[in-house]
Amino acid sequence: MVAAPAYQDPAPAAAAKLLDFGGVSHAFRLEEHPLPVLEDITFQVEPGEFLGLLGPSGCGKSTLLRLVAGLEPPLRGEIRWGADPIQGPDPSRVVVFQDPTLYPWRRVWDNVALGLEAQGLLKTHRPRVDETLSLVGLSKFAKAYPHQLSGGMAQRVALARALVNDPELLILDEPLGKLDSLTRISMQGEIVRLWQKKGFTALLVTHDIEEALLMCTRVIVFSERPARIKADIAIDKAYPRHRDDPKLVALRREILGLLGLESTW
């Protein structure tokens, strides 16, 4: 356990906002011809949910996350975050990308402090950075440069860089996609633990059905591009889960079927 911090901890961001997709469509403009990627997506994410988004490669899941992050506006439809439509990025909705994208010229500590610095909060919130680093178990690497870290450590720094802002919505865009399988398994548990502790809402895009089943409270399965919702599956199962749990195995087979891969093992 970490010693109690000397400053006043802001109340844990118990996510109270509903994330509401209303008829969202989006397209890429490729050589004049628009390429539709999302078609009339409507669903809601309850506060505190851990929602997994599954679908064939290139179906537009990551685009959906960019829209939620406010990095791009949707072509049609609206995404509401609480009462307000999303119109731009906001530190209450933070993304962890597939690549850690740490700034190589900043030490680990300064990478984690990035958000607080950008919001002008660093002076008053310095202990938060130390605390978040110890939360992901990297206190000893505060002074290291990114090129000195392993892939798993770098991704943990990226996670800390997101969590230090106390987000209400954590957007995970295949954050474990490039890690080796052992690091991956341990980080799946770690993220779930952080989610339980902090109480944020989480959106996870992944290609790995097993990962979604182990981590999420609910999974949405998308079709081929342009993405439409094929299924919306609640996973009512206590943590920690086991990958050979018969219920999860059955769900895995069902989702494989939805993705057109039922004949595989």
Binding site: A69, G70, L71, P89, D90, P91, R93, V94, V95, F97, D99, T101, Y103, P104, W105, R106, R107, L114, G115, E117, A118, Q119, Y145, H147, R161, N165
Partner: protein
């Protein structure tokens, strides 16, 4: 010395560093070092002898002093060679420098013999090494003054060019409307050799000094602007996404993301600009500025003082190399997060 070789072998890393296997070969390596050092020393003794005892054909002073300096160097080498039998640190240094000292001794001795002693290379045009020493000993005040004048002009011009080149590069990389106006101008003017401006600059500017600062700045600014521009526009767009989702405003994106990410490119531009600016510096000093090493060279040629020319040329080489070294030192400091790349 069995004890010594034994301790060395206990440390595999150190033995690996020395690139010599354990046991007898280490002693053999030290004997080789000793022989090499004595060889270099004897070459420098020979050079001292040639300088001191053979009669000069010209009237250069400082031959005895040069001979004594050579002899002192030779004696020091002898001592260091002997000391390296007992001390590994000295041995390493001696091993490193001996080949160069041997070669340079041969070169200086040949230079001495071919010029002042035999006149095979005709004399006024090819002064002996102690002729250069004479210049340094007798004319150091004026040389120093010239170095200071050159450094002042170079650094002012370089700072001016680097500053504006950097700003223009950031502007080009960041703002489309800035690019619309500035890019065509830069494409038109940038590739023009700055020297071409020289005749115009000398009458447009109030003094040849300010004209030269402008020319050096122009020479430096162009590569700095182009590389800063390319650095800023090649920043990984994911870096911006990360900062934007964390609440960064445009000011933060420029100062804390774009510029630090572009710095490695900027330093390439500074290096290219610095190298190119030396040519303009010397030309400007030869053509109009009445101070500096370029002016000194020109002046020495006018008097037929060839020894002074070679002496000034050597100082100029040291100065330019020193400035590049300084730039690499600053780069190493600023980009310390990178793994070591080229060492200057």
């Amino acid at each position: 010395m069995p004890a010594l070789t034994a301790t060395l072998c206990n440390d595999p890393e150190e033995t690996a560093d020395l690139l010599v296997p354990c046991g007898r070969p280490i002693r053999r390596a030290r004997l080789t070092t000793l022989v090499l050092a004595q060889l270099a020393a004897s070459v420098w003794f020979a050079q001292a002898w040639i300088t001191y005892f053979l009669p000069d054909q010209g009237d250069f002073g400082r031959a005895p002093e040069f001979a004594i300096a050579s002899a002192v160097l030779a004696a020091a080498l002898t001592a260091a060679g002997l000391a390296s039998l007992w001390h590994e640190g000295i041995a390493q240094r001696v091993r490193h420098f001996s080949p160069w000292l041997l070669a340079s001794g041969l070169f200086v001795a040949a230079w001495e013999a071919l010029t002042a002693k035999t006149g095979i290379l005709p004399l006024p045009f090819f002064p002996p090494p102690h002729g250069l020493l004479e210049v340094y000993a007798d004319d150091y005040a004026r040389l120093l003054e010239s170095v200071i004048a050159s450094l002042r002009l170079e650094l002012l011009g370089f700072a001016f060019g680097a500053f504006f080149g950097f700003l223009i590069g950031v502007g080009l990389g960041w703002s489309r409307s800035f690019g619309y106006w500035v890019h065509p101008v830069m494409r038109f003017i940038g590739p023009l050799p700055s020297i071409a401006w020289l005749p115009i600059a000398f009458f447009v500017f109030p003094s040849s000094f300010s004209a030269s600062i402008f020319l050096i700045g122009l020479t430096t600014g162009f590569p700095v602007a182009v590389l800063t521009w390319s650095g800023v526009s090649s920043v990984n767009s994911a870096y911006y996404d990360v900062a934007r989702t964390l609440g960064a405003n445009p000011r933060f994106l420029i100062l804390k993301v774009a510029i630090p990410a572009a710095l490695p490119h900027v330093f390439v531009g500074l290096f290219m600009g610095l190298g190119a600016s030396f040519a303009v510096l010397v030309t400007a000093e030869m053509m109009g500025v009445k101070a500096g090493l370029g002016f000194y060279l020109q002046w020495a040629q006018g008097w037929g003082a060839y020894a002074n020319m070679y002496a000034a040329l050597a100082v100029m080489a040291l100065m330019c190399s020193g400035l590049i070294t300084l730039l690499f030192k600053i780069r190493g400091r600023v980009l310390s997060y990178q793994k070591e790349e080229v060492k200057w």
